[in-house]
Amino acid sequence: MIYEHSREGRRATAQAPLETTEAAGIPAELRRTRPPLLPQVSEMQAVRHFTRLSQKNFSIDTQFYPLGSCTMKYNPRACNTLASLPGLLSRHPLAPDTHSQGFMACLYELQEILKTVTGMHAVSLTPAAGAQGEFAGVAMIRAYHDAREDGARSEILVPDAAHGTNPASAVMCGYKAREIPTGADGDIDIEALKSVLGPQTAGIMLTNPSTVGVFERRIKEIAELVHAVGGLLYYDGANLNAILGKVRPGDMGFDVIHMNLHKTFSTPHGGGGPGAGPVGVSKRLEPYLPVPMVDFDGSDYRWLTEIDRPDSIGRLSAFAGNAGVLIRAYVYARLLGREGMHRVSEFSTLNANYLLKRLMDAGFDAAYPERRASHEFILTLKRQAKELGVNTMDFAKRLLDYGVHAPTTYFPLLVPECLLVEPTETEAKEDLDNFVEIMQTIKQEAENQPETVKQAPHTMPVRRLDDVRAARELDLAWKGGEQPSK
């Protein structure tokens, strides 16, 4: 704890203004009477503390990180360096257009690039993350129905395998989320879909390739069915990395999509954000896109706001969303160019299929063995859990001991004891081979010395944590009193 280094009167003196003023204009009853309990440390103590903390993390820069559904690929350093150029970093969000042409050019071109790769009619960059993009997308579906005085539509359909943000976003927009089952082959159960479609259907939210790691083959038919009852199709861009330059959501029949730039466009995940979740729409939803957007008349760039776009669902953040993330994505897109984008899907798919094949050969069970993997795939350790008493959680924790971040565990919920593995295109063959060897080793350990696996990890800064205690005896902030224990 940083507070352990705290001593009364210690300061990082180089950081505060030299001048001391009383702020005499502020009346006493509005002032603070005691200073807040912040650490009192020297600059070096702070640097050392946070450096050491960083070393307790797994990250893409230090480990293989095949976290399914999260696209943990290499984040090129140039994206950070160039987004941090002084002119970009010091630009105030309300700076006039005369002092924003360079910045707006980047945003405008990013809008155009995203339009092309997704096959959508128009794009707004402003949502701050995938979930906010989902919110914006569903809000646009609602605005569309409302504008047609078709307000009786009350349901958004989501597959049972969908990410939890889908139903949560639908509810935030005032809809009821209704689940539809996934068939045994991993595709949507079309008959079940037909049985729930009707005049109450506002839309359907799909991820394609889906969260079970396979391409929804009957997407065209699904689109026709949903459109036939007057519903709209929402594309969750979580898995866009799998199809970049191969097939476009717009061509599949989707009306609205969001993209996760921190996945497909390789902006940093930052320990849990910031992300960016631009939305793209078909022509009929274009009036409802969230503001601001960037417009270009051939010579100048300018902001489009509520005034230019009166039917917009509105504003999602005080300024223009996570601008610095958008700049990083723009730099990435320019480095890749059009051929680079095709290769993203090609090599992420190659890596996933190769890894799946090697793991199946090593005795692991695929959840959908008859299907081609997309950029990710699901293993099920149901057999190992039953026969050896070693479950997915145990495998995941043991992987950490071998210096690999665990794949996503227990998602999607419909596959028991599952591991969702996404190697991404930036991993070399030998790293994939190494992962297979580690998985084999753990399987052997599970057979011969299961306790080693069940009690893993052994080499991390902490062993397995008591989550029950964390939730029952809430300790969410250090409140002073005694020095925290070491």
Partner: protein, 130 residues
């Protein structure tokens, strides 16, 4: 051998309901339900005075990795809640059929009791689900 108490009735959604003989009914979740959820960390109870409809969600039980709605087996008014669960949700894990009761209701639709299972019927349901 079943441990399902025979002095009460059961809903398919794994709640139990016991006639206290004074016009009030006590409601909780079954031992099977608490076992599926694992260590409970929080229980959200209805407010005294709330009117419940049969089948409506009226309480929530949370474990670390799951949250589950509790549905009222009957239509009625909440007349008491087990405040001891606030701060000691593990009581449900330890004694789901006894000290881990959740709330008491005064029935407004007595006919609904017939829709519920008895102990044998509930055991059969569990056997089916297994």
């Amino acid at each position: 051998m079943s441990n399902t108490p025979t002095d009460r009735r059961y809903a398919k959604s794994h709640e139990w309901l016991k006639d206290e003989g004074d016009g009030s009914f006590t409601i909780g979740i079954t031992d099977h339900a608490q076992e599926l959820l694992g260590d409970l960390v929080f229980v959200d109870l209805p407010e005294v005075g709330a009117s419940l409809e049969a089948g409506s969600d009226c309480a929530v039980v949370e474990s670390v990795k799951a949250a589950s709605d509790v549905y009222s087996p009957v239509t009625g008014e909440v007349i008491a809640v087990n405040e001891a669960l606030d701060g000691a949700p593990e009581t449900i894990n330890e004694d789901a059929f006894g000290a881990g009761w959740m709330f008491k209701v005064k029935l407004t639709e007595s006919g609904e009791l017939d829709n519920l299972l008895d102990a044998t019927g509930y055991d059969a349901l569990l056997a089916e689900e297994a």
